[in-house]
C-alpha cells in the first residue's frame, strides 16, 4: 500500500505492528498485547485522519495509485459479463476511453468511462486517462447504440482532463466534447454519471451530462485542477491547497451547490482500501437509480435533465 503524506502517522503505526509481529515470530515473545494496543491506535488514527479530510487531501486520494479504475468497476459489477467495444469508426480506438455492453443483475447496460493505467507502461498506453477527440466520439457512438437498443448508459468519470495535444486540436477536441454535451442532453435513454476519481473540466463533462450525476466521497470535480488554478491565479504552483479549497471541488461542496445529485460513500481510507466493497456499493447505487429512472417517460426524463442543468448558476 502506498501512503500519502497525511497518512504517515498510520504508516508508522502499521510498520510498528509489522515489527511486533516479526519479533513475536522470531523470538517467541508474546506480543499480543502490544499488537492489540497498536491496532487500537491505528483504528482511532485512521478515523481521525479520514473523518475530516481537507479538499486537497481528497484530491490526493482521488489520484491514489492503487485506486480502482473504470474497467475494474465494470468487470466486478458485471461479474465479467462485459463485451468491450472499440473505435470511433473515424480515426482510431482511443485507449483512454473504454466502453461496451455489460450485464448488471440481469439487465444490459452501456458502460462508458475514462481508463487510467495501473502501471508505468499501462499509464502511457492509456494516455493517463486523457482522451483525444476520438475517445469522445467513441463514447457518443456507444451512447447512440444504447439509445437504439433502448438500454441505459452508465458513465464512469476519471480524467485529469481532455488531452491537450496537437493532433487533438487538429481533430477537433472542442467540437467532440461540445457534440457530446448536446447529444447527451437529449438522449432518449437514462444516463447515470459517476465520478470515480478525477473530474477535470470539459474532459470530464464530455461524458458527464446525465439524469443522475454522482460523486464518490473522495473525488473532485471542477473546471480546472488545483495545480493549474494555482499557477494561473497565483502565478506559481505553491497554492494548490488554497486553490483546492477555493474551487469547492469536493463531492460535499458540489452537492451543496446543487451541481451534482448525490454522494456515494467510500470505505474508510478510500476506495482502494476495499475495492470489492466499493464496487458493490456503486453497483447497488446504479441499480437503485436505474429503477427510479426507467419508470419515467423518456420525454419527461429529458425535460428534467435539461431543467436540472439549466438551473445551475448563480446570479443577481
Amino acid at each position: 500500500m502506498d501512503y500519502l503524506d497525511f497518512e504517515k502517522p498510520i504508516q508508522e503505526l502499521e510498520e510498528q505492528v509489522a515489527k511486533a509481529r516479526l519479533i513475536a515470530e522470531e523470538s517467541n515473545v508474546d506480543m499480543t498485547k502490544t499488537i492489540k494496543e497498536l491496532e487500537r491506535q491505528i483504528k482511532t488514527t485512521r478515523k481521525k485522519t479520514y473523518e475530516d479530510l481537507t479538499s486537497w487531501q481528497r484530491v490526493q486520494l482521488s489520484r491514489h495509485p492503487q485506486r480502482p479504475y473504470t474497467l475494474a468497476y465494470i468487470k466486478s459489477m458485471t461479474g465479467g459479463d462485459f463485451l468491450e467495444l472499440h473505435g470511433d469508426r473515424q480515426v482510431r480506438d482511443d485507449k483512454a476511453m473504454v466502453g461496451g455492453w455489460g450485464m448488471l443483475d440481469g439487465q444490459s447496460v452501456m458502460f462508458i468511462g475514462q481508463q487510467k493505467g495501473v502501471n508505468t507502461k499501462m499509464r502511457q498506453f492509456r494516455n493517463f486517462g486523457m482522451s483525444n477527440p476520438e475517445g469522445y466520439r467513441k463514447a457518443l457512438r456507444l451512447m447512440k447504440m444504447a439509445e437504439k437498443f433502448n438500454r441505459p448508459v452508465v458513465t464512469l468519470i476519471d480524467t485529469p482532463g481532455a488531452f491537450p495535444g496537437l493532433e487533438a486540436e487538429e481533430r477537433g477536441q472542442g467540437e467532440a466534447i461540445a457534440r457530446n454535451l448536446m447529444e447527451m442532453a437529449v438522449l432518449k435513454v437514462p444516463i447515470i454519471c459517476i465520478v470515480i476519481g478525477e473530474g477535470a473540466s470539459g474532459g470530464a463533462l464530455g461524458i458527464g451530462v446525465g439524469d443522475k450525476v454522482l460523486m464518490l466521497e473522495n473525488t473532485w470535480y471542477s473546471v480546472i485542477s488545483p495545480e493549474s488554478c494555482s499557477s494561473i491565479l497565483w502565478r506559481n504552483w505553491d497554492h494548490k491547497e488554497e486553490a483546492a479549497e477555493a474551487l469547492k471541488l469536493t463531492a460535499k461542496d458540489m452537492l451543496s451547490n446543487k451541481l451534482i445529485d448525490g454522494i456515494i460513500p467510500e470505505p474508510l481510507g478510500g476506495a482502494h482500501h476495499d475495492p470489492e466493497g466499493m464496487f458493490k456499493t456503486v453497483k447497488t447505487e446504479i441499480l437503485k437509480q436505474l429503477d427510479k429512472l426507467q419508470t419515467k417517460d423518456p420525454q419527461k426524463r429529458i425535460e428534467a435533465r435539461i431543467k436540472k442543468f439549466s438551473d445551475m448558476g448563480s446570479y443577481a
Binding site: 473546471v223 471541488l249 442543468f309
Partner: protein, 284 residues
C-alpha cells in the same frame, strides 16, 4: 446591395478604443502598427485598412454592424454574477468583478439583444473580451440560455458571436456547467428546426470552444482568429516543440473541417442574411 449600408449615427466608438492613442483620434493597429484615424477605423468595421487585422470589438460595436440601423433591444441587461463560491485568490472575485464593470462600463462578458438583421428578426449574443477575458461564468451561460429560450418561444434564429478565453475560474464548477446548460438549449433549437449560427472571433478557446461555439448549424469565423480547445501555450508544453505556423487559426480550422467558411467582418451581415434566407421556414 442597399441592405448593407452602414448607419453612421448608429456607430459609437468605445472609450477603450479611443484610449489606445493619447489624442483619442487615431487608431494604431496592434499587428502592423500602422496608424489610421478612428473615423476610418470605425468605417472599416474596426479592421485595419493596411493589413486586414480584425480588431477585437465588443457587443456594442458588433451589434451596430449587424442589427438594421444599429437598433436592437438588449436582453437581461442587469444580470450580474452572484459570486457563488465567495472566491478569493490574490484578490477577491467581488473586487475583480467590480473593477471590470467600472473599467469596461458593461455588466458582463456577454451582451444579448434582439432586433432585425436585414429584415430577419433574430436574437444575437456577443461576448465582450475585455470583461475578465471574456470568461464564461454563470451569467454568460444564463444569458445565452435565456436568449435561446426567447428564440425558441418566438421561433427566431440565434446568432452566437464568441470571443473568450474560456471558463471563468472564479466560478469553478458553476462555470463548467454553463457548457452543459447552453449545449442542451442548442439541442432544443435543433429539435425545433430553428437556426443556430456560431460566429467565432479572436480568440475563442477552452470551454467556449468545447460547447456553444462549435455547435452551429454553420460555424463561421473572422479571418486570423485564434480558435482552439487547449491554449497554444499548453499544447506547446504538451508536445515539447514549437507549434506549426498558423496552428489554431481560423484558416487551420477551416482546413481541418471545423468551419463552414471564413468571412471578413465587412461581409458578415450579408453572409448571415444569405444563410437565414436559405434556411427560413417555408410558409405552407
Amino acid at each position: 446591395m442597399g441592405w448593407f449600408k452602414r448607419d453612421k449615427e448608429g456607430i459609437t466608438t468605445s472609450t477603450e478604443e479611443k484610449k489606445e492613442t493619447p489624442e483619442g483620434l487615431w487608431h494604431k493597429c496592434p499587428k502592423c502598427k500602422v496608424i489610421s484615424s478612428i473615423e476610418d477605423h470605425v468605417n472599416n468595421y474596426y479592421v485595419c485598412g493596411n493589413c486586414g487585422h480584425h480588431n477585437r470589438i465588443n457587443a456594442r460595436e458588433y451589434f451596430s454592424i449587424l442589427f438594421d440601423n444599429g437598433k436592437y433591444k438588449e436582453l437581461d441587461k442587469g444580470l450580474k454574477s452572484g459570486d457563488p463560491l465567495n472566491f478569493t485568490d490574490t484578490k477577491k472575485y467581488k473586487d475583480r468583478y467590480a473593477d471590470a464593470v467600472k473599467k469596461t462600463k458593461i455588466n458582463e462578458a456577454i451582451t444579448t439583444g434582439t432586433g432585425k438583421l436585414d429584415g430577419h428578426e433574430v436574437v444575437i449574443a456577443c461576448m465582450n473580451f475585455n470583461f475578465i477575458g471574456g470568461s464564461m461564468g454563470s451569467v454568460v451561460g444564463e444569458k445565452i440560455a435565456r436568449g435561446l429560450d426567447l428564440a425558441l418561444k418566438k421561433e427566431l434564429p440565434f446568432i452566437m458571436i464568441s470571443k473568450s478565453g474560456g471558463a471563468r475560474m472564479m466560478e469553478a464548477a458553476f462555470s463548467l456547467m454553463q457548457m452543459a446548460k447552453t449545449s442542451a438549449k442548442i439541442a432544443l433549437m435543433r429539435e425545433n428546426g430553428l437556426p443556430y449560427i456560431s460566429v467565432l472571433t479572436d480568440p475563442t478557446t477552452g470551454g467556449v470552444t468545447a460547447s456553444f461555439a462549435m455547435l452551429g448549424d454553420i460555424n463561421i469565423a473572422e479571418p486570423g482568429a485564434l480558435i482552439g480547445f487547449a491554449g497554444p501555450r499548453v499544447v506547446k508544453e504538451t508536445i515539447g516543440k514549437d507549434l506549426p505556423e498558423g496552428f489554431q487559426t481560423s484558416e487551420f480550422l477551416l482546413e481541418h473541417g471545423f468551419l463552414d467558411f471564413i468571412v471578413e467582418r465587412k461581409n458578415m451581415k450579408s453572409k448571415l442574411s444569405q444563410f437565414l434566407r436559405m434556411v427560413k421556414k417555408s410558409k405552407s
